[in-house]
């Protein structure tokens, strides 16, 4: 009877397993195969080149720049989103007139496609007639070509991405805050704990599960950043603002180097998986230590 029940449960796994094989396992194996070739992405002809694409990976300056930028996009955006998201959640958890409207306004950019958000942002920071430069000129300053410097452009992209998705973090944090029993705060208040003490010793520790979810999701989102970069800089000047995602796009579709592009794609897959797992484990240990 027990075996029969287990068997019926096992059968229920099958559709998910088939989908997993179709959309995860097969593309992964196919990707590994392509990464061992010099395929240009569209021709019927290609040659197997062994591990040369993997060797090239570690000698390629463009790859290192994109990797560095990817880390900045991922970590930078996550940090800003988490801090701002918690702040918004704490503020908007309290009831006041216009609370719902404020939540909607903060969340609104997250509903816009990244590419559109990128184009809108470009109009703000462009040199000629950009909104920011118009303000600078209004105060007698000299206009700045904000995106001309690769390092600065990377951080501007981080800010744009963080501000776009801070609303999502806010929603997760509000849900986390609502799951904290009010009695904890009330007891601490009766014991004479200040707001800062309550925040430090009650609210934030109990928010760790929500923070974990949010950080992992934001990190993955930041590490695969694509649309905003494409709309604001297209990876330039030169290749200074490429992320690994835009680099894959460049290598595959422009450089006609599908083999190498797939190698970078596989690296990114492993990189995100390792980063996501490490960060999640770190937060889990933190939560275990507190419980």
């Amino acid at each position: 009877m027990k075996r029969k029940k287990e068997l019926s449960i096992d059968i229920l796994y099958l559709p998910a397993l088939l989908l997993m094989i179709l959309f995860v396992v097969y593309p992964l194996l196919s990707g590994i195969n392509i990464s061992l070739t010099n395929w240009n992405g569209y021709s019927a002809k290609y040659k197997y080149v062994g591990l040369s694409n993997y060797i090239r990976l570690f000698q390629d300056k463009m790859f290192y720049t994109a990797l560095k930028n990817t880390v900045i996009y991922g970590v930078g955006s996550t940090a800003i989103q988490t801090v701002l998201g918690i702040a918004y959640a704490l503020l908007l958890q309290k009831e006041f007139r216009g609370q719902t409207l404020t939540r909607v306004v903060v969340y609104l950019p997250a509903m816009v496609a990244s590419l559109i958000m990128g184009y809108i942002s470009y109009f703000l920071v462009q040199y000629n007639h950009g909104a920011v430069n118009d303000i600078v000129k209004l105060f007698g300053g000299t206009p700045v070509d904000w995106m001309a410097d690769g390092n600065r452009a990377v951080w501007i992209i981080v800010i744009i991405n963080a501000l776009q998705f801070v609303g999502k973090t806010m929603i997760v944090m509000i849900a986390g805050l609502q799951s904290i029993p009010e009695s904890y705060e009330e007891a601490a208040e009766i014991d004479g704990a200040s707001y800062r003490q309550r925040l430090k010793y009650i609210t934030l520790p109990l928010l760790i599960p929500a923070i974990t979810t949010s950080v992992v999701l934001n990190l993955i989102g930041g590490l695969k950043l694509f649309g905003i970069i494409l709309a604001t800089t297209s990876g330039g000047p030169g290749y200074s603002t490429h992320s690994l995602s835009t680099l894959i796009n460049y290598l595959y579709f422009q450089n006609q180097n599908a083999g190498y592009a797939t190698t970078v794609g596989l690296f990114l897959f492993l990189f995100i998986m390792v980063m996501g797992t490490v960060v999640r484990r770190w937060f889990e240990k933190k939560a275990e230590a507190l419980s």
């Binding site: 992992v216 200074s240 450089n255």
Partner: protein
Amino acid sequence: MKMQDGFGKKLLVTGLTASMCLGLFGCGGQAANTTTAAAKAPAATSAAGTKAAASAGSTAAKTTAKASAAATTAAAKKADLKGDIEMVTNGNEETYKAVNAVLQDFMKENPGVKITYTTQGSDYEQLMKARMASNDMPDIFATHGWSVKRYSEYLRPLNDQAWYKTIEASFMKNIANDQGQIFVLPINMDSSGILYNKGLLKELGVEVPKTWDQFLSICEKGKAKGYTGVFLAGKDNRQPASLLDISAQTFIANRSDKKYTDELVKGTFDWKNWAPLSQFLSDLKTKGYLNVDCTTCDPVDIPARMAENKVLFLVASDNSLIQRAAKINADAKYGLAPIPALSESEKRVFAGGEREAYGIYKKTKHEDVCLAILNYLAKPENIKKVCEASGKPSPIKDVKPNLGTVMDDYTTYADIEVAPTFDRVYLPNGMWSTMRTIGSALIGGSMTVDESVKTMEADYKTMFSQK
């Protein structure tokens, strides 16, 4: 049980992470689709203006209509043409509007035919490569200079068409393969050189430069007066690449003292010889001859910036910019001149070749309809209409479009040779993207001249081996 739960949890989290990561494999395509959709927006809007464009061009059409009508519509009327045709291009807005107007007329005459005509802008090459990989090509598509080298294996040869004999013999080298087969109907042709500001050159008291040294000296004079020497809209990295490609004509291809072109074709080119070209672009930036926002300016701003009348030169292939700038400010008068030579003893040239040209997918299910569409497009009055809108000359005999002030320049420089576009002839397919990268990196300061040379060499070797 607890251990099982933990394992299950780990499996679930790993699975979710993997799914999200693998979403990236689709990410490029997804984003590309989004971009495509965005690119379609202006196309859709512009379609609204097609009727006006069609009526505007109709007067010129009358003279030649009778002669061509019989030949071109015979096939169409033989049987009631029916079918949904997908047609794509990467032509600019002006070209798109003009071609679209012609297609609208065709559909009026052939109500059974529905043509979905779209322009894909800067994503066109990516889109076409993806479609080539999946053997899912549009029925009719623009080949943007690559009808032979890249697309010929997907295209139906068109030598059997009535309009074949109307193509200028001198243009054939640009669109025919070694066996003399052609795969496209060429509507207009590139004739790139330098665009120069007539008023500002007069004000500076200088002639149109014949050498690059004279060109740089004019830039220096202009800089002293607060003018921009060379305007670049480098947010789209095709702009600096185009500058390199056009300049390469006299830096490399047309050198009487060297055999660089043979070496490039054979694969024996010493890439150190590319350094002067990279250095030239780098110098334009470091000497302050480029616009301040040369790395971030969007190409849509080019006509407006030209119209401010503070730009001396553009090294660009889009001659329609001259008319578009003049529309904004009639005082901003620009002309077209040949590419300066390295020295007085070397010859100046224009860079040219196939531009707006359409071929038919050899596996299309509607070959008869596609041929009828090309026949209709090939009518001299229709070719003329598109040439005038795009500001480019026609490779079809007896079609003399009115290209405004540029016509004077074509007349002035009628004796100057039009050399085939550098990268299409002498570099392996795919090097254009390398030129886009190094061009943008050189003006952005993220690559040295030496690094740019090494990048060109490495990619050349890779792509040469893929030929």
